[in-house]
């Protein structure tokens, strides 16, 4: 299929997309990404389908990806003929008949669980979905299709200007595409922020009979899911980006290295790749341009270190995923010894938009040194959790408070960059989010995990968590990382157990510096960051653990105790029934007794008292 045939298909796709917006039959959209399904989207869809069948209503049901505000899931959108699409949030299957009855029987917009509509103009006083506080400050470029289109339908993607960027790209010599990307200021979204064009140029200029392009979808940072959402919601955007990158660097074979923990994303990718092949967007002589390219999917087998470029390559080659020294950089000698470019999912997903709308437009967003937008997974103790996209340069305060709605308990810290990043305290809230400012604060931009913690989270425990993670994931090749992280975990364990001394804090800092300087790859080179930043910005909390043997956030098990407040306890015996060790005793209707020597601090009594008991909150955890 040549360019003309694709344009013809796009024209038809635009028509059917417009038809869908003005559909004569009702259309139901279900947010069915992994997060939506976990929240119960499949059950909501079933309930909706049952209602339609029972009442013999003809309607279409379309599964879409994640639109971002995960805290509102499951989301069910209803588009009646002549009306905009209207979204309902936190829908339980039992809500579905009520919402649908309102539309189909009373012929009016259901009020309960109403989130907003997707139209441009005012509609019956219903608020606009994108005017919600979480969405309004966002600039959606990479995520523009997520949650709106059917990710399994190539025509939906085409109708929204899909593969236009590729067409533009194929009409230019590769050097012009490189220049375009250079002008846009795009930097790698995987974490390090290396200018994309510079890496590409090195690869292109290395003589070779074969070059490779790898899409790094091994999103290993715990607490980050931007890449999963993008692939699940708009797989073709990433694949189009791969074609653009491959054309520029002169690669004929590509790989998507994706973690096996993302089965839905893998399914969507496989389907999209099949559609591309059928449409002549993959294989020999793509769109009659003479450029040939193919893509294979490689499932990662669960190793965080494989996010590192050289380790990832070793893994694709069927070996242990251990990093090697650089240089030579993969752009010169990578997969099978050939020049190889590894780009992150989001970097690739941005390319079609830069090509389509021009580099000046993209460079107009963001800051002097960090151009464009960045997606973040905003999670932890924040009120509004989910996936967001914001222009770089926005402050942490705007993200945590304006978009995320702040925390329930007082704000304590925000962790950026995952296990390689740092824990930033309140004084950094007005720091602009860009590569330079976050690095200056001792953290990194990373791939985009933003974990917000409040006064109920123990900083020492969080640092221990991250160090424990990197220690387990250390490949073991070099000593500073393998042995050093183990010692840091031991020291942090000791502090959390209330057995720490002041000297341990200095030991931690010294060890951290040594690991940073002595490690072979970025995993070790950044592993101490969470502990070092925590020590720097939250020292009093460490000292409370060490000197007063107290955990201010009431998290560290060895330093907390459970207690029944006699005045509050009504003796309902719910806690007695859930206690696994028989630590709580007492006759009905009389305050219960908690035997600390038997208590294993499993939280069962605390939870049942809080949510299910008559008194509520009669059991406290204190330090």
């Amino acid at each position: 299929m040549g360019t003309r045939a694709l344009d013809e298909r796009r024209k038809k796709a635009v028509l059917s997309w417009t038809d869908l917006q003005n559909s004569p039959v009702p259309v139901l959209f279900i947010g069915a990404a992994s997060c939506g399904l976990a929240a119960g989207a499949a059950e909501v869809e079933e309930a909706a389908a049952r209602y339609l069948e029972k009442n013999r209503i003809e309607a279409r049901i379309i599964r879409v990806g994640c639109i971002g505000p995960c805290y509102l899931e499951p989301l069910l959108d209803i588009q009646m003929p002549g009306q905009p699409r209207i979204s309902y949030s936190n829908v339980r299957p039992s809500d579905v008949p009520l919402i649908m009855e309102s539309f189909f029987e009373k012929k009016e917009v259901a009020k309960s669980r109403l989130a907003g509509h997707f139209g441009e103009a005012d509609f019956n006083g219903v608020p606009r979905f994108f005017d919600m506080p979480m969405l309004k400050p966002q600039v959606r470029i990479v995520l523009r299709n997520c949650g709106l289109i059917d990710p399994d339908d190539l025509d939906h993607y085409l109708a929204r200007d899909g593969y236009l960027g590729l067409e533009k790209c194929l009409a230019m010599p590769w050097a012009d595409v490189l220049e375009t990307v250079k002008k846009s200021g795009l930097r790698g979204r995987g974490g390090a922020g290396f200018p994309t064009w510079r890496k590409w140029l090195t690869c292109r200029e290395t003589p070779s009979d074969q070059r490779y392009l790898i899409c790094n979808a091994d999103e290993g940072d715990p607490g980050a899911f931007m890449n999963r959402s993008l692939i699940e919601g708009d797989p073709h955007a990433v694949l189009e980006g791969m074609l653009i990158a491959a054309y520029t660097i002169g690669a004929s074979q590509g790989y998507v290295y994706i973690r096996a923990e993302y089965p839905l994303a893998i399914k969507r990718l496989k389907k999209a790749i099949g559609q591309m092949r059928e449409a002549g967007l993959l294989g020999p002589d793509i769109l009659g341009s003479g450029f040939s390219f193919d893509i294979r999917i490689k499932e990662g087998a669960g190793a965080f270190v494989c996010g590192e470029e050289t380790a990832l390559i070793a893994s694709i080659e069927g070996k242990r995923g251990m990093p090697r020294t650089r240089p030579p950089f993969p752009a010169v000698s990578g997969l099978h010894g050939r020049p190889t470019i590894i780009n992150n999912v989001e970097t690739l997903g941005t390319l079609p938009h830069i090509l389509r709308r021009g580099p000046e437009w993209y460079a107009g967003l963001g800051t002097e040194t960090s151009k464009g937008t960045k997606t973040f997974s905003l999670v932890g103790k924040v009120r509004r959790t989910g996936l967001i996209e914001v222009p770089l340069g926005i402050t942490l305060r705007e993200v945590v408070f304006d978009i995320g709605g702040g925390t329930l308990k007082p704000f304590k810290a925000v962790q950026t960059g995952g296990p390689s990043g740092g824990c930033l305290s309140e004084e950094f809230l007005d720091t602009p989010i860009d590569y330079e400012h976050l690095a200056a604060a001792g953290s990194i931009m990373g791939s985009g995990g933003l974990i917000v913690v409040d006064s109920d989270t123990c900083i020492v425990d969080t640092a221990k968590y991250f160090l424990g993670f990197t220690q387990k994931e250390s490949c073991g090749k070099c000593v500073p990382c393998r042995v050093g992280t183990r010692h840091m975990v031991k020291l942090l364990d000791k502090i959390c157990d209330g057995k720490g001394e002041l000297a341990d804090l200095e030991k931690l800092e010294k060890l951290g510096r040594t690991i940073k300087n002595g490690s072979l790859c970025a995993l070790g080179g950044t592993a101490p960051n969470p502990a070092l930043t925590s020590l720097k910005y939250f020292r009093p909390e460490f000292i409370a653990h060490v000197k007063d043997k107290r955990c201010p956030a009431v998290v560290c098990k060895s330093l907390v105790n459970y207690r029944v407040i006699a005045g509050k306890c009504t003796g309902c015996q719910r806690c007695v029934s859930v206690c696994p060790t028989g630590a709580i005793t007492g006759p009905r209707s009389e305050p219960h007794n908690l035997d600390r020597s038997k208590c294993i601090k499993c939280r069962s009594c605390y939870e049942i008292c809080r949510f299910d008991a008559i008194a509520g909150d009669a059991i406290v955890i204190e330090s």
Partner: protein
């Protein structure tokens, strides 16, 4: 055991059709074996070694490097507790301890009746709904100590 032995004559022919038998196929081949048989049993490693002309030692070296591969038969149900950052700060660790206690096994083990095996996982990517666990392919959101108990009890009675 599900399906026929992938590395016996009939099955191996299937694998040969699916893969070229290159060095780079090692991990996907092991993934395929585990998909069908639930774990990498000694004869499977031997068979793959002979086929791909790689030593058994090296295959064990590769397989043990990656968290995905198991060397013991799995349970009928696969319980994975997520310990990603978001799950951790929202109490995932306690969910895992509760599951261990309720099932009477440690992480990475299978219950004596073969009903469950228990694993911890670095991140399931459903961070906004933390803490989460997955029973087989179904992800359960916003877990609590009591909810995980209910899930395990419910499974037992059904």
């Amino acid at each position: 055991m599900k399906g026929r032995d992938l590395l016996a004559d009939g099955g191996l022919a299937g694998l040969r059709r699916e893969f070229k038998g290159e060095r780079g196929d090692l991990i996907p081949v092991l993934q395929r074996v585990q998909e069908v048989h639930g774990y990498l049993y000694p004869d499977a490693i031997r068979g793959v070694a002979r086929w791909l002309k790689i030593s058994e030692n090296e295959i064990f070296g590769v397989a043990t490097f990656y968290a995905q591969f198991r060397f013991h038969p799995p349970g009928r149900h696969h319980l994975r507790v997520c310990l990603g950052t978001a799950c951790h700060v929202r109490g995932g660790e306690q969910i895992l301890l509760t599951a261990e206690q309720r099932l009477g096994v440690g992480t990475g083990e299978t219950t004596a009746d073969g009903e469950y095996d228990l694993d911890r996982v670095a991140c399931l990517g459903c961070c906004a709904l933390a803490p989460v666990v997955a029973v087989d392919e179904k992800v359960h959101a916003q877990m609590s100590v009591l909810k995980i108990q209910r899930i395990l009890d419910g499974h037992k009675s059904s």
